[in-house]
Symmetry: C2
Subunit: 346 residues, 2 copies
DNA sequence: ACTGAAAATGTTAGCGCTAACAACAAATTT
DNA sequence: AAATTTGTTGTTAGCGCTAACATTTTCAGT
């Protein structure tokens, strides 16, 4: 199989009858090219299927075409999905992703981020929770003038562009959906108080009940911590109540899975006697039986958008960016599976 | 903070009083450098903390310093862990990892792999299961002369270097451990028959019983398919037997989790009345309660070794490599958690 | 039409490294 | 001692691209 020699910028230039520099400008979105030339060049680019040589580009330019990703908690399938989507997008845009794991020791994390900036010269960073709320990390990046995008941050929302979904609205919708299915005895297991989303989800639940004029006894609210174990404890309490709920909305899938396990142990049928809804749509939601109804975060879209934003360079200088333009709220999706159904016990 | 300008190969050369080429040779493990010079250069490299510029190196050399990773099944936390470890090692060795997801349509996968070879010019590929057993993929790589390492392959073991663990021995050890804990009524849930590991694990289980002179009724063997659902069905059958097993060894964690769920539903205490052991040490093993005793695969080591082997170039020409040298078997680890314990019902 | 500024395009040099070959020194043979 | 071989180091050119500056074209304003 003859190697069809990858086209170089020179080939494009010759074919299009312009200089290499003009081609370079077209490819780098430089404004100073006439539309006519741009079209002509792009046509040749298509024709020759030209892709810039990342290494040559990196070597010659001040940009590094590297983006950094700082994550925590590697066991989460969330990371895995985010990472894969980010890698894909990077590849499409001619960037490389340098992945760095946060240390439990924050000082080491800071050191590692500094190294990343110094050695790899990243053009931008993506910060995943909970690192995205760490003041020290933010300061290091700001000082080094490295643009960064934060994913579902909890605080300091005007310090950088960020991407999130509307946790409040999702919780509201979940709760209202249960109400529409005939449930009025709806319990909630709150997530880890240290994470902002727990608050938002709880508030969405409360407001959905209130706007539907449903009064809920305080025993229907249990404090969890996002772990399976805490979900079990909460479930045991909720299911020992004299006036049992007909639906339990857990603030994440792990706790929802625990509820299902406890309910089944007690001979309570799911979903006919008890509807269970989770949050996140992690792998667990489709492993256990019955599969968990849940809220799906747009993880892929978040990852892609983060890369796109950093690659565009539009946040390289934040001084002129309005705080409203920092916010990117993506759509979630309610996923109905076998763990919830209409209430037939009325 | 003054930017301490990264050292270049020229800086090293001047400081060491040699030519740039000599430094380059030292760095690329070229044999034709005297020990004295090598040491001198390395000392300066250390002193200046010199790291080669990957882009310049890639641009100038015939190697691409890209390695490819072909995976399947992105939801698995196995992938995530493997990927992170591989990325880390790549970074340490100055390589970049290009990650490609296998399509459900095999023709598209082939096309994608061809692209990877053509466009990215990868120096090597890592194939994860089950793609590592796909003849077409193997053929494409062989034809294009791209070295590849396969992870836990099932067949054609002499076609390429591969990395795996001893599934047979692990299953043997798990079973023997249960026997040593006083269990003699040990059931097994076999994994998906399409995967070679299922066979190996089953055989290990059988041989451990045999070598301990334990006779097991055929009802103790159930066929599963690695899914939670199949684990539930198997568990229901096993726990409805008149002479119930005191221990169940499931061929993966998902099925073990299902067994725990069913047992608890039936009021059977784990581990005092029933020990459950899984395989793989996936996230699930520590999510459910009680945590699942299981076998941990050395995923990180596998990933690191795969990268190291490809980066070393030692498999660039397979014609002189003995088939024994293709095999890399790594150690597994038995992890004892709360789902299993000594048998007290004797 | 003539000027000046702005817009569009071209030219030159070099980013940091290695392939290919050249040159030299040391070891070995004739 | 000269000739050959072997081992080690140096020189030159160029990988594909872009920064910075140079030049040409366009077009308004007079």
């Amino acid at each position: 199989m003859a190697d069809p020699k990858r086209a170089r910028i020179q080939d494009v230039a010759e074919q299009a009858g312009v200089s290499m520099m003009t081609v370079s400008r077209v490819l780098n979105q430089d404004k100073k090219v006439s539309d006519k030339t741009r079209e002509k060049v792009m046509a040749v680019v298509e024709q020759l299927n030209y892709r810039p040589n990342v290494s040559a580009r990196r070597l010659a330019s001040t940009k590094s075409f590297f983006l950094g990703l700082l994550y925590d908690n590697p066991s989460d399938s969330y990371i895995s999905q985010f990472l894969l989507a980010a890698l894909k997008k990077c590849r499409a845009l001619g960037y490389h992703l340098v992945v760095d794991e946060a240390h439990t020791d924050i000082d080491k994390t800071i050191e590692s981020v500094k190294q990343l900036i110094d050695v790899t010269q990243v053009d931008g960073m993506i910060l995943l929770p909970p690192m995205c709320d760490n003041e020290q990390v933010l300061d290091v990046l700001t000082k080094a003038n490295v643009p960064f995008v934060r994913i579902t941050p909890d605080t300091k929302l005007n310090r950088s562009p960020y991407i999130c979904m509307d946790d409040y609205q999702a919780a509201f919708d979940v709760t209202e959906h249960l109400i529409n299915q005939g449930h009025s005895k709806i319990a909630h297991i709150i997530g880890d108080t240290k994470q902002g989303v727990s608050r938002l989800r709880y508030q969405g639940y409360l407001d959905a009940l209130r706007s539907n004029k449903i009064i809920t006894p305080p025993e229907y609210i249990e404090q969890g911590s996002f772990t399976y174990q805490s979900g079990m404890e909460a479930a045991i309490k909720l299911l020992s109540l004299d006036d049992k709920p007909t639906a339990i909305f857990a603030a994440n899938d792990d706790m929802a899975a625990a509820v299902i396990s406890i309910a089944q142990k007690q001979g309570i049928n799911i979903p006919s006697e008890l509807s269970v809804v989770g949050f996140d749509d992690t792998q667990l939601a489709t492993i256990v039986w019955p599969n968990i109804s849940t809220v799906k975060q747009p993880i892929n879209e978040m990852a892609e958008l983060a890369i796109t934003l950093l690659a565009s360079g539009q946040y390289n200088d934040l001084s002129n960016v309005k705080s409203l333009d920092l916010r990117h709220i993506l759509d979630f999706e309610l996923i109905e599976r076998e763990s919830s159904s209409a209430n037939k016990n009325n």
